[in-house]
């Protein structure tokens, strides 16, 4: 379908994780997204709501004053919520610009600028938000529904078509109108019932109309505001950005939830996870993500509290199923695709590659999702005998060199992943070995991240690729598996086209009844486990360390990066 760019906005934000893996020597950065996790998460240290948690929330009252430095892998690119699509930008601008809604760590939506969740009309097409009273921008100007309307118009209204918002595809598809019947009310009407609408599109940072309203769409792309916001409505406001080094934010006293306890928040850019680990140990940074390989040494240094929790971030590989490509010829039979998964001893990877900080994926949905089915139709254990017999049965016979051949075509291909991610580099090599043992010749190839993205999204010049991704709060997985996203520009790099899956996903999107959706997603997981166009290998863990002087940092499955409503409550024991 030409001209079809429909990628769910949520899938988009999830892609920012996918994208964000580019930095050199960047190990698993623990990407967060929005999503839902529930109590059945594999017995890891969990942060439950409000009450006692392991380390940072205490019964002490917060002291005002002081700063925290957070280490991160990527520099921000923009502070404009309607332009950003990478984790770093979303994380930092999220501290300056609240949206209508925000998320709790378990994925539940809460009101932010909006007083509460919106009223939904009975036909599911209209959402009515009531803004909190007396909202102000940091310059004292009132924040009204006009600002909200303006922000969304940037994404869907034709008058802003020159504004290069990555949201445009989704917003113009799903939004029929956004209006402000009075300064405290916003009414959003969608073109169709879209279950993940609030989760995907209700959390954008609201931008100031009184500052940006006079600019044309084209000028907005390069507006100075995007790199130095002059006003904000969130917990912090902008102070400075030294590109490639750090962003400095200061407390915003006009924040609707009350002023933050910290005076300053500093976002420091570091090249890789070893540096982050080193600086966590020396105390040069107060907060930072911890790579599984650094976990033990950071813990042993004793300077930090470490939090670990399940997340909907995962490593997966995909077969190129396009019939005109090599992959299409090799992997057309599902027996082949299944056999390759059976040949992988993923349980051993948990310790060997992830140092214990991951879990084997049994389904395409993450264990943290309400739609998770622990035992779908096909469960893949490590079974070399089965792998061999499946391949034999499919007509792939071992040749004299040990490599399987069918109709003169050897089962030989390349696997691509991006250079700089240790876990994935290791996985590729382990896969190569495991598959060699069953007569499959797979060669690993490391390429730069932008190249990998281009291959997956645009040119499809791969046989197999391995990459990380993350799911959002909603169980919809159309970005990866719906056939409409197989067109260039979509993330369905595997070119997977299955009518049953399409129908199931579509149906699940157009109903708001969670039970009905759950049944549909159960069926979806069954089909996916049988078809395995893109086997999901491991679900990662979010691992964060905070220095002992940092209190009340409340990291959780969906409160890692862009959604941090708890940041305003963070305080430091030494007040410095």
């Amino acid at each position: 379908m030409s001209g079809d760019e429909d990628v769910e906005q949520k899938g988009f934000e999830q892609f920012q994780r996918f994208l964000d893996e580019w930095s050199r020597r960047d190990f698993l950065k623990g990407l967060g997204a929005t999503g839902a996790w529930f109590a059945f998460s594999a017995g890891v240290v969990e942060f439950l709501d409000a009450c006692a948690s392991a380390s940072t929330t205490t019964s002490q009252t917060g002291k005002k004053g002081g700063h925290v430095v957070e280490g991160a892998f990527s520099d921000v690119r923009t502070f404009n919520s309607m332009l950003s699509s990478d984790t770093a930008s979303n994380q930092v601008l999220g501290l300056m610009f609240d949206g209508l809604l925000n998320s709790k760590k378990n994925g539940d939506l809460v009101g932010a600028l909006a007083q509460d969740l919106p009223k939904t009309s009975s036909d599911g097409l209209t959402y009515t938000f009531k803004l909190r009273p007396n909202l102000k921008w940091s310059d004292g100007q009132p924040l009204t529904a006009d600002d909200v309307v303006f922000t969304y118009q940037l994404g869907y209204d034709p008058q802003y078509k020159d504004f290069a918002s990555p949201r445009r595809g989704d917003l113009s598809k799903y939004i029929a109108s956004v209006t402000a019947p009075d300064p405290q009310t916003v009414v959003v009407t969608t073109t169709q019932v879209f279950a993940p609408f609030l989760v995907s599109h209700g959390q954008y940072g609201i931008l100031p109309k009184h500052v940006l309203g006079s600019l044309s769409g084209k000028d907005l792309n390069t507006a100075p505001f995007n790199s130095a916001p002059t006003v904000s409505n969130g917990a912090f406001k902008f102070v400075s950005w030294q590109s490639g080094q750090q962003v400095t934010l200061a407390r915003n006293d006009t924040y609707w939830a009350g002023p933050a306890l910290l005076d300053q928040y500093i976002y420091k850019v570091l090249p890789d996870s070893t540096t982050v680990a080193d600086q966590l140990k020396t105390g040069e940074i107060d907060i930072g993500p911890v790579d599984p390989s650094q976990f033990d040494s950071v813990k042993a240094s004793g300077n930090t509290n470490i939090i670990e929790f399940p997340v909907a971030i995962f490593d997966f590989y995909a077969y190129n199923l396009d019939p005109t490509k090599l992959g299409g010829k090799l992997f057309a039979q599902k027996e082949v695709r299944q056999a390759l998964v059976y040949a992988l001893d993923r349980q051993s990877w948990v310790q060997a590659i992830y140092f214990g900080h991951a879990s084997v994926a049994t389904s395409v949905e993450p264990p943290t999702s309400w739609a998770f089915k622990a035992k779908p139709q096909v469960v893949y254990t490590f079974d070399v005998a089965k792998a061999n017999s499946l391949l034999d049965g499919a007509g792939w016979v071992k040749g004299s060199d040990g490599i399987r051949v069918k109709d003169g075509l050897p089962l030989r291909f390349e696997m691509h992943t991006n250079a700089g991610n240790k876990q994935r580099e290791s996985i590729l090599q382990v896969m190569q070995q495991s598959w060699k043992d069953i007569g499959v010749d797979a060669t690993p190839k490391l390429i730069q991240f932008p190249q990998l993205v281009t291959e997956i999204v645009s040119t499809r010049t791969f046989d197999v690729f391995l990459v990380g991704f993350s799911w959002g709060q909603d169980p919809d997985e159309s970005p990866l598996f719906h056939s409409r996203n197989a067109a260039p520009g979509g993330f369905n790099g595997a070119d997977f086209k299955n009518a049953d899956v399409d129908a199931t996903l579509d149906a699940a999107l157009t109903t708001l009844d969670q039970n009905k959706r759950k049944q549909l997603y159960y069926h979806f997981q069954d089909v996916m486990s049988d078809q395995v166009p893109a086997p999901i290998l491991m679900f990662n863990k979010g691992i964060w360390a905070t220095s002992k002087r940092v209190m009340a940092a409340d990291f959780g499955t969906y409160n890692q990066f862009g959604n941090r409503p708890w940041m305003k409550d963070v305080w430091v024991t030494d007040g410095k």
């Binding site: 050199r24 430095v69 699509s85 590109s243 020396t282 040069e284 999204v457």
Partner: protein, 323 residues
């Protein structure tokens, strides 16, 4: 004759700069394929969006057309905007250049300050154990990968020292993120990276000083000075060292053009926001304009430095003008 020489050199320099930038662009163009810089920022691009972006960025033109356009802009001082985030390239360069210079100049300084004594002592104590150990030391410094040395120093002086409660050195960056910025803070951050970088110069220059010193000391006029009854100290330092240092100055001068790019690995290890690191990170993202800008700028400095050196030589040594 001198003018003609300078003109020829100038012309050659221009050719060099053009050549370098053309080669760079050619390399980047060769392999980008269907890639659109910034696609990782905006993956939801429809085919028509991709086409439009490529047209905007001029990527659908043959590379020589793009090159000429770019060159024309550069002549007017416009280095263009980054393909990734649209920020002006010149801004990035100007931001980062001082950092790189700070690092490399300090390294050169440390190199000089340490090489001269090491070289002199080696020459004076030639053949002794001291000489041998100094040689080994300077050669050893040259034998470790820079990144490894840097990482080891961080490990020792940052992580381990801090762990043991001793005064420790910061592990990266130009200044402390909070409350830093004063001279002391900057110096603290500068010590380790500059030292690592200086090892390279140290090895080269201490050996050179030594051999230069040896050569000078074997000259006739030194023997004359000694015969005249001058104290050994005066002989060595007044006559010997002064003359030995002249070629060293030349050698140091040769390094100056490389100052802008030489610190790349050190910049990466110590998260130093310099030009080298900028070019590297942007190259990984296929951000043509920024990479071209940095390469052009760096090459310009290199060529200008060489040109200056050549002209100075020509002034000092008339034979060269006729070469």
């Amino acid at each position: 004759m001198l003018v003609k020489f300078i003109v020829r050199r100038l012309f050659a320099s221009v050719v060099v700069v053009l050549g370098v930038t053309a080669v760079t662009l050619f390399l980047m163009d060769r392999t980008r394929g269907a890639y659109v810089p910034g696609i990782d920022l905006n993956p939801a691009l429809r085919p028509e969006d991709i086409a439009r972006l490529r047209a905007d960025l001029g990527l659908d033109q043959p590379f020589y057309v793009w090159y000429v356009n770019w060159l024309w802009n550069v002549m007017h001082g416009d280095f263009g905007r980054s393909m990734i985030d649209g920020s002006p390239v010149m801004t990035h360069i100007l931001e980062r250049l001082p950092n790189t210079l700070e690092l490399t100049l300090t390294a050169v300084l440390i190199g000089i300050v340490l090489s001269v004594p090491l070289g002199v002592i080696g020459a004076l104590r030639r053949g002794t154990k001291t000489d041998h150990s100094l040689t080994i030391f300077s050669v050893a410094g040259f034998a470790v990968p820079q990144f490894w040395l840097g990482l080891m120093l961080i490990l020792i002086f940052s992580v381990t020292f801090e762990h043991n409660g001793w005064p420790w050195l910061p592990s990266g960056g130009v200044t402390s993120p909070f409350g830093g910025g004063d001279l002391g803070d900057r110096l603290l951050h500068l010590i380790m990276p500059a030292t690592v970088l200086s090892f390279f110069y140290l090895s080269l220059w201490s050996r050179f000083t030594r051999s230069s010193m040896l050569e000078v000391l074997s000259q006739d006029y030194i023997r004359t000075a000694r015969a005249k009854g001058m104290s050994e100290r005066r002989v060595v330092y007044l006559h010997g060292l002064r003359n030995a240092l002249i070629p060293l100055v030349t050698l140091i001068g040769l390094e100056l053009p490389g100052l802008v790019s030489g610190g790349l690995v050190v910049e990466v290890v110590f998260s130093w926001p310099g030009l080298g690191r900028l070019a590297f990170e942007r190259a990984l993202q296929y951000d043509y304009t920024t990479v071209m800008g940095v390469v052009f700028f760096t090459t310009l400095l290199v060529v200008a430095g060489n040109l200056l050196a050549d002209i100075l030589y020509a002034i000092l040594d008339p034979r060269i003008r006729y070469a």
